[in-house]
Amino acid sequence: MTRTSHLQIRDFKGDIPRADAEQLERVWSRPKGLLGWLVTTNHKDIGKRYIVTAFIFFLCGGLLAALMRLQLMKPENSFLGPDLYNQFFTVHGTTMMFLFAVPIMEGMGIYLVPLMLGTRNVPFPRMNTFGYYIYLLGGILLFVSLFLNVGPDAGWFAYVPLSGPHYSPGKRVDIWSQMITLTEIAALVGAVEIITAVFKHRAVGMSLNRIPMFVWAQVVTSFMVIFAMPSIMLASGVLAMDRLAHVNTHFFNPAEGGDALLYQHLFWFFGHPEVYIIFIPATGFVSTIVETFSRRKMFGYLGLVLSLVSTAFIGFGLWVHHMFATPVAELGQGFFTGASMLIAIPSGIQIFCWLTTLLTGKPQLKTPLLWVLGFIALFVLGGLTGIMLASVSLDLQVHDTFFVVAHFHYVLIGGAVFPLFGAFYYWFPKWTGRMLSEGLGKLNFWLFFIGFNLTFFPMHILGLHGMTRRIYTYVVESGWGNLNLLATIGAGVMALSVIVFLTNVFVSRKSGVIAGANPWGAPTLEWGTASPPPPYGFLYLPTVQSRDPLWSDKDSPVIVGLSNTKREVLNTTILDAMPEHRYELAIDSIWPFALALAAGGSFIGAVFNAWAIPIGAALSFLVLSLWFWRGNEPKFLLEGIQHTPSSPSHPSKRVLEETPA
């Protein structure tokens, strides 16, 4: 129901008043210094933090992988002993899946979705900040434990009974469980933000069929997060209870009716959607880059959107294909084979639509598009080996071998990291105002592409020839030495590529070409504001009349009438995005940081003693009460630094009033 009686569309004559921008700057900026860094609730700050932090974890995980490759490069090597190697492969997998892949996609969403929607911030700014801090705590927990040589060593999936109290004594697996809890809270927080933003804060005129593909990808992913994360939180939570002294539940203890297979079901019910949670945002990057660099509207928009939605649904029906070697019923296995093959269809539709857009457009081969072409070459290969793995008979041979390692690196690196690098090259100008070097970018790409294939292609062969996973060494007579050496050389090339990338970033930040608002001539809204965007995003909130506003819209009206003294955005209706009501967003606050310490401390304490949970919960509730009680007015801590309300006779209002209706 729209309230057209409340809207007045009229002509606005006059330059956009400078006072408006300065006032908005005052209202939306954060305080200076370290305090400002701690209390900020600006989605661009938090988004950048997620991206940088997650990328640092990517480097850590990559370093662990390089060390693993050094150990495996020749048979019976003694570079890493079993304890270190087992910790390294566990922490490598855990880092990449929980601390890098999901958070970086989330970070990209938190930064870009509000801008693409034409609004100023996420709907719950303080909760967003809290999400980042608790994620950071989880990551710190994991790496501190690794440095103290008590890193988890039961695999990133921590199967029971190996990870249970009897076979994994000590605190290693407990640290793993609580790290999961902390990072999954952050993921759930991000999902709630994005769904609410996409439902309620779209620009006026952005009906469902005008939502950018990137935003569709993010909202579909967020729904998957909502339904998948509870499963891993439950699995790791009851595992922690099985292990905790004086709690000692028997969920997974076969001697008391517990069931080791139940753990696998709970884990993989999360685990399979997890990989789509990582992959689907990457499809958002690909769609965006393909459209921009083909210089034409995306072909098959409806097909692409339906593919995303069906991938999400089908993705929840595949998990048993990780368990084909366990004693599950044959009939059930057949169903999961069918579903696992079925999911190739929406993925195929996406590939076909992207290739069609490129081949019927005028492709310009800048670095972002190069990464996307690399993505197609590698992800399709990985997807095809995935079809092989969908077959129970084939899976029984190659399950838990390096064939699977090859498969998932092709779909995860090829399918998510390549688009991610493309996204970095594409949006770096928006984040920093400067372009990354094209020359270094091409070098970066080719080194990564070649290094990646050298590393992971031989693993297909190794798996077929019997090399199982998670082994810290192998014997000479196996004959696996040559291909392993090749893989290690490839890893070295990949490392070189990452160094080139980092060089590109550090050099370009200082001396890259100035980008301007829209260096790529892209169609979506984030390119309609400055690079980097001011804290308030857009000077006036935009409206849209098409799916590619910066290409097709002519003189779309802008929104006026939102408060200049409060952080206000516009809520719109769900289907047609008509204006509905004004909504005040939270200001900067220390409470998210305090809650992260309280809740995070509670879970970290639970590694050692079960009482940490009720005590931590009470403390967290206290912090939440204060958070709520202090409300949204600038308070003692921030007085004197905060915004000054504007004078009642605001220039822009006067201009409006003077203009005839």
Binding site: Y167, A260, F299, I349, L359, Q364, S391, W480
Partner: protein, 346 residues
């Protein structure tokens, strides 16, 4: 699909493909899913090649279209003006994409039926006269027990399995500690040994030879060193081996071996190991009754000879750290006698 006469063109082509692969991997066909020596692995291998050739063709097609983008590129550095889509071209593109999706669906159905056919044949119940072997996975070795209606005729050994060619073998798989996975790629896919969920695996060897198997589910510290040997041999050879395994431990032949047996009985060895026909009957560790006849020690970790056995007995932790066997502080004389005795247990 699968042609065993070796005269078909596809089979020759596959062998041709195998040669560079084998060369790269050092001709290690004894632990390879692509070197089937059994009926089940043979069927899986046939399915593999069907998938491989069809999917490779699909991949090449996608690559061609991807590379075509390179050739259609515009070289200007500034962004070109975005163009409006051309309706007739859009309709043509829709037809092509629609057809591609249709072809994809057809290929997937072909694969689905091929998989169901293969899977169904793999799930067939074993013949009534199948050989029954109970395999218990432990951290980090394989306990193998040949079943027999008469309990006294059961044979217990470790890390080594012999099977007769041409006869179905049914493995009863179980684990008392953590999850392991039994995998002999030349014969069949793998099966997980999950505490609380005993299960079975059946295959039939068709080609004689010596092959390798390995634990394929991460089971802790020394998962990497949990291997076994699997020998497929003629029925006669198999019966000879089984009979020999049924015999109690060979009596010591000379003074050294006699001393060695005394060392065994008085040291901590008897706390964990069995030698049939002697008072040593503990079942914590592997059965050593015919240790001398086994090719490896420590579940495929080191070759079985005097030198290695001496090192293993003295300090297994330095060879396989974390293994459940403690160090044994024996004098050189005692050690020499002990390993002479153990190696004599053929």
């Amino acid at each position: 699909m699968q042609n065993r006469t070796g005269t078909s063109l596809t089979l020759n082509f596959r062998l041709l493909l195998c040669i560079p692969i084998m060369a790269l991997t050092g001709c290690s066909g004894m632990q390879s899913a692509l070197n089937p020596a059994g009926a089940q692995a043979g069927r899986i291998s046939g399915l593999w090649w069907l998938f491989f050739f069809v999917l490779t063709s699909v991949y090449v097609l996608v690559l061609i279209f991807t590379i075509a983008v390179f050739f259609r590129r515009h070289r200007s550095s500034l962004p070109l003006a975005p163009e409006l889509p051309h309706p007739p071209r859009e309709r043509r593109a829709q037809t092509i994409v629609g057809s591609a999706v249709g072809v994809t669906v057809i290929i997937l159905f072909v694969f689905l039926f091929a998989e169901f056919a293969t899977g169904h044949s793999l799930q067939e119940q074993p013949e009534p006269g199948a050989l029954q072997i109970k395999v218990t996975g432990r951290q980090w070795w394989w306990e193998v027990q040949y079943q027999d209606p008469t309990p006294s005729r059961m044979v217990t050994t470790a890390n080594e399995i012999h099977v007769p060619v041409g006869r179905s073998v049914q493995f009863q798989l179980q684990s008392p500690d953590v999850i392991h996975s039994f995998w002999a790629p030349n014969f069949h896919g793998k099966k997980d040994l999950i505490p609380g969920h005993p299960t079975t695996l059946t295959f039939k060897a068709t080609t004689p030879g010596t092959f390798r198997g390995q634990c394929a589910e991460y089971c802790g510290f020394q998962h990497a060193h949990m291997r076994f040997v699997i020998v497929a041999e003629s029925t006669n050879d198999f019966q000879t081996w089984l009979e020999q395994q049924r015999q109690p431990g060979r009596e010591p032949g000379d003074e050294t071996e006699k001393k060695g047996k005394e060392v065994f009985m008085s040291a901590s060895c008897v706390m964990c190991h069995t030698i049939q026909g002697t008072p040593a009957r503990a079942t914590v560790g592997p059965d050593l009754t015919h240790l001398g006849s086994r090719p490896f020690l420590g579940a495929g970790t080191i070759p079985n000879n005097l030198g290695h056995l001496g090192g293993w007995v003295l300090d297994p932790q330095s060879i396989k750290p974390g293994v459940h066997m403690p160090q044994n502080n024996l004098s050189p004389g005692d050690l020499r006698a002990l390993i002479a005795y153990l190696e004599s247990l053929k």
